[in-house]
Amino acid sequence: MIEFVKVSKIYDNGARGLCDLDLFIEKGEFVFIVGQSGMGKSSLVRLLLKEVEPSSGKIFVDGQDITTIKRRHLPYYRRKMGVVFQDFRLLKNKTVFENVAYAMQIVEATNREIRRAVPQVLALVGLQKKAKAYPNQLSGGEQQRTALARAIVNRPPLLIADEPTGNLDPDTAWEIMTLLEDINDRGTTVVVATHAHDIVDDMEKRVIALRNGELVNDIGISNIPEIGGIISEAEDY
């Protein structure tokens, strides 16, 4: 699903984002990207979103070399993935229903399709009773669930979550992670960038640890006992 081939990212100010990163994520996988702030997690997410270009190397998503995508084709690439951010990024002048429907309107879905799909996805994230509420009337967890509903309403094959629990209390954070797991169970590849130790430890998923833009460890599900160790190793730096 995702392949990074010798990808480096050096920003204009000289800061190193990623360094010679080789990475392969299978279709249908659930992967945590861990590491302290400034160690390359966000660079990896921004490169996947094609918000920035790599300084060198190639990135393939679903078999397509995204470094060659032209700017005018960028929206169509982004529609293949759902994105969830730490700060939710909801449209404040739209209700929960409208925020989710917006993702369908941009792909010119019919009103009938929108009326059918949005309630379904709101039910999946447990927000069916909040459809008419505006973002400022919701708790942090509800806002993140709205963002999640918007991210999956078009059934993208890939979901990227950048610190999705960063602004949430532990209980709500678990609710969100459980939802992400449910989404993954339905066949969506999920990539979560986080530094939430406890969640990563308990969820027993593949963990990719980055330090200073380099891959320091990549532990698969079969090596679960090592996870705590590699997070510490990445963060002790």
Partner: protein, 297 residues
């Protein structure tokens, strides 16, 4: 583009105007005040030009006709004068009509005794399309001596002065309107830019969700056009109702009763649509340029 997408753009634009009502009202006022100033200058300029044209129309030249000219030759001469470039009209005034006009202007005493031995001649009153060509036309008429044009009477110096003033008024008016329109566009573009800047995050979110540039841009463009249209409506209606009132009030002042103003319909034929069009155009330019900056995400 599908009809439901077009409908979506319009609904979004209207909703946005209402949702961001504070900035919308500020933008509408910026557009309205700028266009109002431009409209007022246009009206003043158009009236000055109209007044000059009226004066020019009264500044025709009189071509005295050779006394021995037959009616057929007179008609031929009239035709020759009419063919001269920049001649707007040629009107025949008989010597009797000329004397009558003199009586009306100067009184009975001035013309007493002249009825028996009228010293005036038949003439043609020639009006020009533009006083700037006075000398050229006068020269052309004097070349028609062999056809019976005996003499040309006109105030060449006054005609030249009037023509020069008219040209200056035109240049000053057009320059002022262009400068004001330019300043207005900058002010309004900045106002709309502030509105759009405040919604930078909104545009970013749309980009991350996979919206195309035009899907994001259209509601903003329509919103700018709605604001511009409403901003144009204010000065249009103020001028529509205010112009008649102002010229009526001025004409009631005895000292200024003689001043003639451009007819209301003529002014409104231009000011009304121009006001709306200028508003919509400014709104369009403002929103397109403002949104462009935030689309590179």
């Amino acid at each position: 583009m599908k009809p439901r997408t077009i409908r979506y753009y319009f609904v979004e634009a209207i909703r946005s105007v209402i949702y961001n009502r504070f900035m919308s009202v500020a933008s509408i006022f910026a557009v309205a005040s700028s266009i109002f100033i431009v409209a007022v200058f246009y009206i003043i300029g158009a009236n000055v030009e109209y007044f000059m044209n009226q004066l020019e129309a009264q500044m025709g030249m009189a071509v005295r006709i050779d006394e021995n000219l037959s009616e057929t030759d007179q008609a031929r001469l009239r035709e020759r004068i009419r063919e001269i470039r920049h001649v707007a009209s040629v009107t025949f005034i008989s010597r009797e009509d000329a004397l009558e006009n003199m009586r009306k202007t100067l009184g009975d005493d001035a013309v007493r005794g002249l009825e028996l031995d009228n010293p005036l001649r038949d003439s043609f009153i020639v009006e020009l399309t533009d006083l700037a060509f006075h000398d050229e036309v006068e020269h052309a008429i004097l070349n028609l001596r062999q056809y019976g044009a005996a003499q040309v009477d006109s105030d060449a110096e006054f005609a030249r002065t009037l023509s020069a003033i008219s040209t200056i008024v035109y240049i000053v008016t057009v320059t002022l309107i262009l400068i004001l329109a330019g300043i207005s566009t900058i002010i309004i573009t900045n106002t709309i830019r502030i509105t759009v800047n405040a919604r930078k995050t909104e545009i970013n979110i749309m980009k991350y969700v996979g919206a195309t540039d035009w899907f994001i841009r259209w509601p903003f463009v329509l919103e700018g056009m709605i604001i511009g249209f409403l901003g144009g409506a204010v000065p249009a209606f103020i001028c529509f109702f205010g112009y008649g009132y102002v010229i009526g009030t001025i004409n009631e002042i005895p000292m200024l009763a003689w001043v003639s103003f451009m007819p209301e319909e003529h002014i409104m034929r231009y000011v009304f649509p121009l006001s709306f069009m200028l508003g919509v155009l400014i709104g369009l330019i403002g929103s397109v340029t403002s949104v462009k900056k935030h689309l590179k995400v």
